[in-house]
């Protein structure tokens, strides 16, 4: 905060991070990664779920409202996008995406209403309603699925101004652009007065109110913006990863996954959303390949997959004991120790007197 701002309130290191991230995403990865598997099974779902995790961060990490129902808003966004493209001719994909986010945001406001009365674990139970209601609504009324009886609807091709984006790499580009833009917007909000309002409500709501912050507006705003992020993430998830629309894909398990991403990644951090999503998504894949390569044939496959889950659960517990502030904090500590090893003495952050 104290560091000098170079451009529009960003510090030099902010801009460096952005440049590095974009270089990696748009230059390094396309040249190194050649197989579709990496794009369609790892990078795309990781970015989509990171975006949903940012949504969960906003409502839970920044505003302190224990909400559980991110997957419900993702479903709302996904089916909104499907219906918009289906029913509105010549609608460019980015516009459909933004509108789906807005529709999800409307649901967010509706299901954020309990937060005005209940808090903590009770709010979590109340917000579960969104999860079940949205999925039920989509299943119940055939209109949302365009009266498709097979249960699985194929997502339309992504068309941006007439150009189709159908190969895994092209879809990856779409996802990278959307996620980058929305992440920057999220960072701006969390660093500005909007984010301060959220955090004030999180840390001490009565004091926030005494400073003139309306709890009603702030909480509902956080729910709406959170649902917007989840909605866009859900639409991207359905159109670029699943390539189909089925309510089952957005069940309570996905909501829990997003919740764990945020907690493991580090509450109240944006990079924690990305780190947490990577951990939850990739670690089972890593464990799986380790299991298959090490014990291939020696142990029954079902036992291996069960063991993976046990190891994964144990790791989460160990991790939470070791670093309760999440992986973003761990990452920060690593950066600090690297910096203090290489930086000249004078450039070290001053030990602040208290």
């Amino acid at each position: 905060m104290n560091a000098k701002t170079v451009f529009m309130g960003y510090t030099r290191s902010d801009l460096a991070n952005l440049v590095v991230a974009l270089l990696v995403a748009l230059v390094v990865i396309p040249t190194v990664v050649q197989t579709d598997y990496w794009y369609s099974s790892i990078l795309i779902p990781w970015l989509c779920l990171s975006l949903a995790a940012i949504g969960q961060q906003i409502v839970m990490g920044y505003t302190g409202q224990l909400a559980l129902g991110a997957a419900g808003f993702m479903a709302a966004g996904a089916f909104a996008c499907f219906n918009l493209i289906l029913r509105v001719p010549y609608l460019p994909f980015p516009v459909a995406l933004a509108l789906s986010g807005l529709i999800a945001a409307a649901f967010g406001i509706l299901f954020g209403l309990p937060s005005l009365r209940v808090r903590g674990i009770y709010l979590m139970v109340a917000t579960l309603a969104s999860q079940f209601f949205i999925i039920w609504m989509i299943d119940k009324f055939g209109w949302f699925k365009n009266y498709d009886t097979s249960g699985i609807i194929t997502a339309q091709d992504i068309l941006i101004f007439g150009k189709p984006f159908t190969s895994p790499f092209e879809m990856y580009l779409v996802v990278v652009v959307v996620v980058t833009v929305l992440t920057i917007l999220a960072i701006n909000m969390t660093r500005g007065s909007t984010g301060r309002n959220w955090m004030a409500v999180r840390d001490m709501d009565i004091a926030a109110e005494s400073m003139g912050i309306s709890l009603l507006r702030t909480k509902l705003q956080a729910f709406a913006i959170s649902a917007f992020f989840c909605g866009v993430a859900g639409a991207l998830f359905a159109f670029t990863y699943l390539k189909s629309l089925e309510p089952v894909a957005f069940d309570i398990k996905l909501s829990f996954k997003i919740l764990f991403m945020v907690i493991l990644g580090g509450l109240g951090t944006i990079n924690g959303a990305f780190i947490g999503a990577a951990f939850i998504l990739l670690f089972p894949v890593v464990l799986n390949s380790i299991g298959n390569n090490l014990f291939h044939g020696a142990i029954d496959a079902t036992i291996i997959s069960a063991t993976e889950q046990v190891v994964f659960g144990a790791l989460i517990i160990i991790f939470m004991i070791y670093e309760p502030l999440g992986m973003a904090k761990l990452w920060y500590n690593i950066k600090q120790s690297v910096r203090s090893r290489f930086a000249p003495r004078s450039e070290l952050p001053r030990q602040r007197a208290t």
Partner: protein, 265 residues
Amino acid sequence: MMQARNFPIGDPILEVRNISLSFGGVKAITNTSFNVLRHEIRAIIGPNGAGKSSLLNCINGIYKPQEGTITLKNEVLDKISPNIVARKGISRTFQNLALFKRMSVLDNVLVGRQLHMSANFLQVAFQTPQARREERENRERCEEIVEFLEIAHIRDTPVGRLPYGLQKKVELGRALATEAEILLLDEPMAGMNVEEKREMCRFILKVNDEFGTTMVLIEHDMGVVMDISDNVVVLDYGKVIGDGPPDEVRSDQAVIDAYLGVAHD
């Protein structure tokens, strides 16, 4: 206090009329009335449980008294929430510190500037020129406040890590940042040592003198109360038993019996 003040004491700015507040069967405040004059420093004293904090909470809109009215600048504050009271120009600090613990000192003070910032979340998200200008101006204002309170060196530290005395200062800074006309200070000097108390008194007097802020403060240290306040209200069991200048209140028999006691020398 002898020399002429920049802001001489004026008419009543805040009128508390026949306030009664009870929680179930427990009566916290009974039929209490008093006025706070513009630009004065008003102390509220009384034994523990006398209803002092409840009274501040009523003025601030956190509690809604069952009876009576509170009038701010001839406008009745009726059944409104703390954020609206804040908008009308009353800010406060809390007895047990109500800071935003995970936010930095400067961010805490910046929350106090919230009423002076009008950019909505879209303007903030897209960092429009207006949002950036507003952020910069309010940040500068807050830097001035932390300089004034001599806490600039810890401006980036999360307040949860600060010792108690400094947290008290941050809370005062946050209240000052609102530029409210009336500050309600709930035991601003509780738990401080003599030196810290003296410093806090200096800040309170300086703010009152420089900005003409009306102060209503709850304090137990009679030395402090006698030194800095213009008028004192004494509460006991939810009732006003004394109201007037410090010297007058000090020699009032009812007040001596209820709260001050007699010196043992």
